[in-house]
């Protein structure tokens, strides 16, 4: 570890034994930068909802007092990626959808956990500004520099709440550096807070390029989706498009990695469409399994309506697997300039024939008129652990040099 960089990471999202993929990109960031830090402490502010729905957090002061007492005696530093140290800080939150109360709770419980003392790291990097960012700002030492990265897919809803929007503006004002992982977030924040548009910078989520498939796929028959089973990911649309393509080629298969409330409905839909025997529902998969899954399929298919970045698209290409991806925001940016090399982009449309046509066009020109290896190398230069770590060090060190 580098002796000059003592860093604290504050985040509401981090993998745990219950949801091993939640905030996997934050863990990837930690793993990427840990080798360049003398000390790296991660504070995971996981939301623990308490009380009746809609009741304020302080409705039952006895619960808050007990939690404060438990936090004071429960610090068991845990081992995490790259030799960094992880502190779980259960963050009691009210059962409501007001982001301002979650923002306040994050700062409050981190302060309690720290015993009222500030974070002792001179560099603090937070994820999710409304909660992790505010907690970092409110608990950093006076001379510490606080940076933050926005990843949230729910940001538009959050900014519709006046109190949360005002808090967000404060966070933007106070942060020493403010990063977004993709253009959709950049555009939304810049449009909402024009006076801070110049403050916004890009920083990527790091992707593991260490393993690639031994051979390129011969045909594009084994489809893979890695996505939560929710409305935004449009898996129903994928199933219908898959059915239409399979009518032409009965050897097609589809693997769905991911889980969600829609799973029973989607399993029923696969049966109704007559493709149940060709569709495998894997449920949630551990992030460590994703590269292997990507490498054991022929085509990564993404049907999302909206994405802030597009981690899985880069993961697919990192494994050497061509992609068929909706123009959902983050993915457009990721594949800009290498669309035809990487595979095919298609417009977000409710008509499954749009995806069918895109697949047929890609199948027609694959592999001769694609160059997945070239796309992979270009993405490696932007998103590898080494590149993303260097970007963080450049940001952290440039302020220190001033």
């Amino acid at each position: 570890m580098n002796a000059d960089r003592h860093v604290a990471v504050v985040t509401p999202w981090y993998p745990d034994p219950q949801v091993t993929y939640a905030g996997a990109f934050v863990k990837a960031q930690v793993e990427a930068v840990a080798g360049g830090c003398s000390d790296l402490d991660v504070y995971h502010l996981k939301s623990w909802p308490v009380g009746e729905a809609g009741a304020p957090l302080d409705a039952n002061p006895e619960v808050l007092d007990l939690h404060a007492r438990l936090l004071a005696r429960a610090d068991a530093p845990l081992a995490t990626a790259g030799g960094a140290v992880l502190h779980r800080v259960p963050t009691l939150t009210p059962r409501d959808t007001a982001w301002i109360t979650h923002s306040d709770a994050s700062a409050r419980w981190l302060r309690t956990f720290l015993g009222g003392r500030p974070l002792d790291a001179p560099i603090v990097h937070a994820h999710v500004p409304i909660t992790g960012g505010w907690a970092a700002l409110e608990n950093a030492a006076p001379d510490a520099r606080v940076y933050m990265t926005e990843h949230s897919s729910f940001l538009a809803d959050l900014l519709d709440q006046p109190a949360a929007r005002a808090r967000y503006e404060q966070v933007l004002e106070r942060a020493d550096g403010f990063f977004v992982v993709g253009e959709p977030l950049h555009d939304l924040i810049a449009a909402t807070f024009p006076r801070f548009a110049d403050k916004l910078e890009y920083i990527a989520n790091p992707i593991d390029f260490r393993t690639a498939r031994a051979e390129a796929p011969r045909s594009l028959r084994r489809w893979l989706s890695v996505a939560a089973l929710n409305e935004r990911k449009r898996i129903d649309y994928l199933l219908e498009a898959f059915r239409r393509c399979r009518a032409d080629d009965p050897e097609l298969t589809l693997t769905l990695a991911g889980d969600g409330k829609l799973r029973p409905a989607l399993e029923a839909l696969a049966a109704d469409l007559g493709v149940a025997d060709a569709v495998a529902f894997l449920g949630s998969v551990d992030p460590s399994e994703v590269p292997g899954l990507m490498a054991s399929h022929d085509l990564f298919v993404h049907t999302s309506r909206h994405e802030t970045f597009g981690v899985v698209v880069v993961e697919a290409l990192a494994a050497g697997t061509p992609v068929l991806v909706s123009r959902c925001g983050g993915s457009d940016q990721v594949l800009r300039g290498i669309e035809s090399e990487a595979g095919r982009l298609y417009d977000v449309d409710d008509d499954p024939d749009v995806l069918v046509a895109a697949y047929l066009e890609l199948r027609e020109r694959y592999p001769e008129k694609t160059d997945v290896d070239a796309a992979r190398e270009l993405l490696r230069a932007k998103y590898s652990y080494e590149t993303v770590a260097e970007r963080h060090f450049e940001v952290w060190d440039r302020e220190g040099r001033r």
């Binding site: 745990d16 034994p17 219950q18 623990w48 909802p49 308490v50 009380g51 039952n60 006895e62 619960v63 007092d65 007990l66 939690h67 007492r69 438990l70 005696r73 429960a74 068991a76 530093p77 845990l78 081992a79 030799g83 140290v85 992880l86 779980r88 259960p90 009691l92």
Partner: protein
Amino acid sequence: MRIVFVAPKSAWRQALAAESRAAADAGHAVRVVAEENPDWDLTPLDERVEVRWTGATKVSAPEPAFIAVFLRKIPLGVLRAVGRGPLHGPADRLSRWWRRTVLGPLKRRRWPETKRLREAHRRDAVAAAVAAGDFDWLVLHEPQAVELGVHWLPRLLDERPELVTTFSFEPRAEAARER
């Protein structure tokens, strides 16, 4: 050590199964206070783990006698009898409709009382599981463990300041460094 995982609602079953197994692997004697749920089949608890089920999901607010007889037993009994004959299909559909539109709202109306009874049941089950004090490490595994803890934990912490309390059982940083 003797570890008790307190998870009265068992909201995070996968984590509970993984962490209690890890604790047993590490040589600890492990007890889990958990709630029954069919999904335990998907993430079973290790057989070395002693489980104290709360039994709270079996508790419901009693149905008033009038409803039990005139809106449940009689109509569903008649439909069951009719369903044994050639009208099997329509009787089945009518039975489902009756449960959904007549009995369902009545059951929902009793839900606040059911919730209160279950809460009290969970509180008693947790208190019984820790009453003997035969443990030296408590894992408060979920928010409800803290919420219910107000009834018994503050006094226990006063009496036993050496008691270890955590929110999870995961590999410690120092243990990882030693490897």
